[in-house]
Symmetry: C2
Subunit: 186 residues, 2 copies
DNA sequence: CGATACATGTAACCGGTTACATGATTTT
DNA sequence: AAAATCATGTAACCGGTTACATGTATCG
């Protein structure tokens, strides 16, 4: 019941933010519209329903200020159940599917892992990210070769961009790992 | 009427593919599930409705084979109206919004430009891509600096990934431009 | 007192996901 | 003849977009 498999990147972003400190819907909108977290819908039509869903699932809890007022102000924070489920979700090893369909969520998961669950939690995540990214790069390269002269100059260039992007991601992850290991050695 | 502003990446991919040669829904599903075009829904529930919508808009035309059969086979090709609208859409200069919200569509637009509308059509596109990507990198870097010590190691690393990604995109575009110019010089 | 920022909601719409259903053709 | 593949569709659901609606607090 309440399986965590589907968890939109908006929900994930909300969970990650309320995990740090209690936030109102408006706080979240502000963050989404003014920071590089910015590719999340800052629209109330997305955020308020998402908060309702998460509360109904029992992952976050809302404290109402200004009780009785016509304009209630709701501060949401992560529940212990939410924390458990969030951890389960972000700790999952990176899959090929994540890489192809949910790239945006990966960086979110990384920051949540580090900030909420501790530096150590990021290391297996980065390992699986590196592994899957390299696998995917190899698959794309094989595809380029197999294709032979079949594809156009433009198709090949676009594919190169994809390969370069995943390769850069793997390199970034390796560098991040080194920095985190250095940082936590002290 | 029939404004082209909203054009999902699935629709764009379909238009780009039928522009090259007539395709059935099944052909498209095959392409999406077996090639690196693969981050498009290969599900019939996405593709057949999308084909219907595009035909209703008059952008593609379906020729029915096996007429009268209970299992008709429909080959779709781009209409002249569709070609005009597609060209208008892919030739638009790249905006910041495209970069942040529709990265996936950018490579699609690039290959369509090159394959369907000619190598020359890609050059202004790549110029605007380079310009916007560099702008965005500068904005992200300013954000990193402005933030100061406010953000965590993990937030900073995630931001670095973003910066690196956009910088790599700009470098790729510059390289692509050179290759295309060399290729077409002959 | 008017403007602006704070703050929350809702309803219509739209497109993608999932799962199911059906039939035709080719291969073994 | 069974199995696999080719091929098209549909219905329920879900979440995000857009646009609208409402009210509060603060500042000039």
């Amino acid at each position: 019941m309440s399986s965590a498999s589907h968890l939109s990147s908006l929900s994930l972003a909300i969970l990650g933010l309320v995990a740090r400190s209690a936030k109102t819907g408006y706080d979240l909108r502000k963050l989404f519209s003014t920071t590089p977290m910015g590719h999340f819908s800052a629209s109330p039509g997305a955020i308020y329903p998402a908060l309702e869903r998460l509360e109904k699932q029992g992952w976050i809890r809302g404290r109402i200020e200004n009780k009785g007022s016509l304009r209630p102000r709701r501060q949401y924070c992560l529940s212990s159940k939410g924390r458990t489920e969030l951890e389960r979700h972000v700790r999952k090893p990176v899959t090929r599917e994540d890489l192809v369909w949910h790239v945006d969520a990966l960086m979110l998961r990384f920051t949540i892992l580090g900030d909420v669950f501790g530096a150590d939690a990021t290391l297996p995540f980065l390992d699986s990210l590196i592994r899957e990214a390299n696998h995917h790069v190899r698959w794309l390269e094989e595809f380029t070769d197999g294709e032979g002269g079949e594809s156009s100059l433009f198709g090949r260039l676009a594919l190169d961009q994809g390969i370069g992007g995943y390769a850069a991601l793997a390199r970034w992850a390796a560098k991040a790992k080194r920095e985190i290991e250095n940082e936590t050695k002290s």
